[in-house]
Symmetry: C2
Subunit: 207 residues, 2 copies
DNA sequence: CGTTCAATTAATAGATCTATTAAACATACT
DNA sequence: AGTATGTTTAATAGATCTATTAATTGAACG
């Protein structure tokens, strides 16, 4: 038997590249810098991944899927009433974005650099999203019929949840600088916004 | 009298650079490309603006101020009741973002590239924002006291408005690709979201 | 011990980008 | 006409980046 490919360095490269791409984007991250960060030769990056573009695409695809597949992961939703259910969905999504605050920026920037990439990935998640939305939509329509929720499409509702959560973590760095918040104060803001998003949406869809 | 400096080319460079920086960001836009787009020699960019960084900073500062100073420009707010006033503020901000859909991305990206830049600019707009918020806050507190609006800070209210409006135009390119919307359908979505944002916020702050 | 093959490095080609310098061009003025 | 000054271009230095190639290292195995 030949020597097994050592996956360690490949993984180190992936992790380091992921961190740098998320921090500084595709254009501002060079393979030279990735190698320097790791402490290895720059050619090694190309040995494992051939091109910078290819390395980026692997990471991007992973992050893209991760972000959309985990869009609304909540356990035991079935027994809940609609407002409670919606509350958990908002909070779960909020927490997911909180743990991946830079992915939306990565996706938005990559789309303006290379729209093809997103176009190719979209099919892979349409199924996942569709079934997830359908279940919630059934509840939503029941609530609307019962007069407890105003006329609103499931798309608009979900879009509002995603928007408000994503934009917090997108804008917070800039907002914190303008309002001169330190890390501790930022934490407080984030926690307050978590409650605020729930209130805003739950109240916002009342009839 | 000597020949007056010809401002035409300087303006052409500024306009072209602005367009390219907004389209593709700082790193992905080269002075070579700006010159090629204009049809002039690349050295001319440096003749007028010395460095790419300097050219970018001039444009960035302009866009930054433009975006924050026009944050809530509405006429004749005084005679309106609070909900009507808030509605007009949301719509005015929505329309402003609609006309400058790429500025938020420019600011967020530039901040992660060079936080100093934003730090230096923040003082110049704190005065403008403060007075604007104070007026609205007076109304807000009255509404809360009257029991028509739930407990919410003016910061949270304004942050929600800005968030929901900005994120629409930030996410729409990607969302439109995923949902396969053409330009006409995008327009429809934008117009529906404009109403939706008003409803969401107005309902969302009710007690 | 020497062979073999994967992993790693050194060296470098080739492209591109920023910025500078010197020369060419254009225009107003004497 | 000739000079002076602002504008534009040509040429290029110097840096950096991606990607490739050839050489070196190192570990398993017969």
């Amino acid at each position: 038997m030949e020597v097994k490919n050592n996956p360690t360095m490949e993984i180190v490269i992936l992790e380091t590249a992921e961190r740098l791409f998320l921090e500084k984007g595709f254009a501002m991250t060079s393979t030279t810098e990735i190698a320097k960060e790791i402490g290895c030769n720059q050619a090694l990056i190309h040995y494992y991944f051939r091109t910078k573009e290819n390395l980026f695409n692997i990471i991007f695809e992973k992050k893209f899927k991760q972000f959309f597949q985990n869009i609304f992961i909540v356990e035991n939703l079935d027994q809940m009433a609609f407002p409670e259910k919606l509350k958990h969905i908002i909070e779960a999504h909020f927490d997911m974005v909180r743990q991946n605050p830079r992915i939306p920026l990565l996706i938005v920037n990559e789309f303006s650099r290379n729209p093809e990439m997103v176009a190719n990935l979209k099919e892979k998640l349409q199924g996942v999203v569709a079934t997830l939305f359908e279940s919630l939509n059934t509840d939503l329509q029941a609530e609307i019929a019962a007069g407890r929720v105003r006329q609103i499409t499931i798309i608009d509702l979900i879009f509002s949840v995603i928007s408000i959560n994503i934009s917090l973590f997108l804008l917070l760095p800039v907002a914190a600088e303008i309002m001169t918040l330190d890390e501790k104060q930022k934490e407080i803001v984030i926690n307050r916004r978590r409650d605020e998003h729930v209130k805003l949406i739950l109240n916002g869809v009342r009839s």
